[in-house]
């Protein structure tokens, strides 16, 4: 029990060495890998998200927590795979065409991974057809589009329209975010969801996948 509390705290304060050691200790103590993920990693990363939402945490704190979470997941992932455990959902994420900004997208990707999702990160400047190809090939539940610039956010609509034209729009949920994006814009272009921060992206993704 002590190791699991230590693991949660290590994630929240962003201490990757303690996170890795506590994960090993918990496994050695007989805790199931899936229990560690759903019962401890995910709640701890939710707390990190809440602190970011409250603006007690800024980007550096979130990055350190994401790094601690990854240190734990690297130990757990092979064990989860061999036990046949399924992720909460599969997300294809990227910054839309013409936009090279990836800081916000990377944060959302890290938080989604911490939230138990399998994340397929296509990077920045991603053309609509690449989103479609990856979503189809990986059987994604969710597509997450990022844009930092008012001049590139139009590609969000183009990408959503391309999913429609490819006949895949009903197979995936699409969420959008980025500095200039608003709920009103998300509604106008036919996205399924919008959040204004990496902290709240996980809750939205879970809601969309469950819907």
């Amino acid at each position: 029990m002590h190791d699991l509390k230590l693991l949660e705290e290590a994630l929240i304060v962003g201490d990757w060495k303690t996170a890795a050691a506590a994960t090993q200790a918990a496994l050695a103590g007989g805790v199931a890998p899936l229990t560690i993920v759903t019962g401890h990693l995910m709640p701890a990363m939710d707390e990190v998200g809440r602190r970011f939402e409250r603006e007690d945490y800024f980007v550096p704190e979130m990055l350190l927590s994401a790094r601690a979470m990854k240190a734990s997941m690297e130990i757990l992932r092979p064990l989860l795979a061999s036990s046949g455990a399924q992720p909460v959902g599969r997300v294809v994420i990227g910054t839309v065409k013409g936009d090279l900004h990836d800081i916000g997208k990377n944060l959302v990707a890290a938080m989604l991974e911490g939230g138990g999702f399998e994340v397929i990160d296509l990077g920045a400047d991603v053309a609509p057809e690449l989103f479609i190809e990856a979503a189809a090939a990986r059987n994604a539940d969710l597509v997450a589009l990022s844009a930092l610039l008012t001049v590139t956010m139009g590609w969000m609509k183009t990408t959503i329209d391309a999913f429609q034209a490819a006949g895949l729009r009903q197979k995936v949920k699409i969420m959008v975010g980025g500095a200039p994006v608003t709920q009103q814009y998300a509604d106008a272009i036919g996205a399924d969801g919008f959040t204004d921060s990496a902290g709240s992206a996980v809750a939205l993704a879970r809601k969309l996948v469950a819907a």
């Binding site: 603006e55 945490y57 800024f58 980007v59 550096p60 704190e61 990055l63 065409k97 013409g98 936009d99 090279l100 900004h101 990836d102 800081i103 990377n106 610039l149 008012t150 001049v151 590139t152 139009g154 590609w155 200039p180 608003t182 009103q184 814009y185 106008a188």
Partner: protein, 286 residues
């Protein structure tokens, strides 16, 4: 005498407004890097620079914000040189030209890039800009103190005066950078890094700028550079609108001057009208 002190002897200087949106109004395609126009379409770039000089800007920048090797590809040496040459032609001695250096867009602490790569990119951009003879270098829209330190060191190595400006757009009071840095932390670190002036640009709007300006001014004894956004962008249908009018923006001039601003201008979403309004506000309040 430090050139900045000499330029500021007559009181605060009015700088310029946004370039990206002005270039789009002249045909720059959404998603295209404005900096590439320094070589491909220099005339509209010069047109924007001249519009600011004619509106009363005493300092204009250069269309080189993204032209570092991490943020964009292309013939960066030529793009940077051309950017300074265009602004100098437009200024024609009527305004100072401060050459713009923006952030890399990558995060050092995330391990996306190394400090050596960042320093090399800023070294190359600084020396290309300096070779075309600007009056000073401006490192702007920074959020990470570590990255800004590298940029300031690179810029200082040219021998030119260096102004460094951060975007304060986060936290409950919108007084932190994305990385959580406060005005006090920024001022202390940047003076230590050798900056000749510190400031705030972009951010969430002019109504937050005076408080940040006051704190920067209190935290160091170098001049303060202030260049806020015209509010946050809003979508109206498919068009982007900024909520702040030139008059509303300029109504903050006296507050900014009283808070210690030595350079006052406008950032994203502003136009030459904002500069004309600032010039009028300065006349009215002096």
């Amino acid at each position: 005498m430090n050139p900045l002190r000499k330029w500021l002897a007559g009181g605060p200087l009015i700088t310029d407004g946004a370039w990206g949106t002005e270039l789009q109004a002249r045909g720059l395609k959404p998603g295209a890097a404005p900096d590439t126009w320094n070589l491909a379409h220099p005339d509209p770039v010069e047109d924007v620079a001249r519009a600011y000089v004619e509106a009363g800007s005493q300092v204009i920048l250069t269309n080189t914000f993204r032209a570092n090797a991490i943020a964009m590809k292309g013939d960066l040496e030529l793009i940077n040189r051309a950017g300074v040459e265009i602004s100098k032609r437009a200024a024609a001695g009527r305004a100072l030209v401060f050459a713009s250096i923006g952030p890399t867009g990558k995060m050092l602490m995330a391990g996306d890039i190394t400090a050596q790569q960042v320093r090399a990119a800023f070294d190359a951009q600084s020396s290309a800009l300096a070779s075309a003879g600007p009056d000073a270098l401006l490192v702007e829209t920074m959020s990470d103190i570590a990255e800004a330190r590298l940029a300031v060191a690179a810029a200082k190595s040219t021998g030119l005066s260096v102004i460094v400006s951060f975007a304060f757009d986060s936290g409950k009071n919108k007084d932190r950078t994305m990385m959580g840095a406060t005005p006090e932390a920024v001022a202390a670190a940047m003076v230590e890094a050798g900056a000749d002036a510190v400031g705030a640009n972009c951010g969430v709007g002019v109504e937050y700028a005076a408080a940040i300006c006051r704190r920067l001014h209190a935290a160091c004894d170098v001049p303060v550079w202030i260049k806020p956004n015209a509010g946050l962008p809003k979508m109206e249908g498919t068009a982007v609108r900024y909520g702040t009018t030139a008059e509303f923006f300029a109504s903050h001039f006296a507050a900014l001057r009283d808070a210690g601003a030595s350079f006052v201008g406008a950032c994203c979403g502003s136009t030459p009208d904002f500069i004309r309004a600032l010039v009028n506000a300065r006349c009215a309040s002096s």
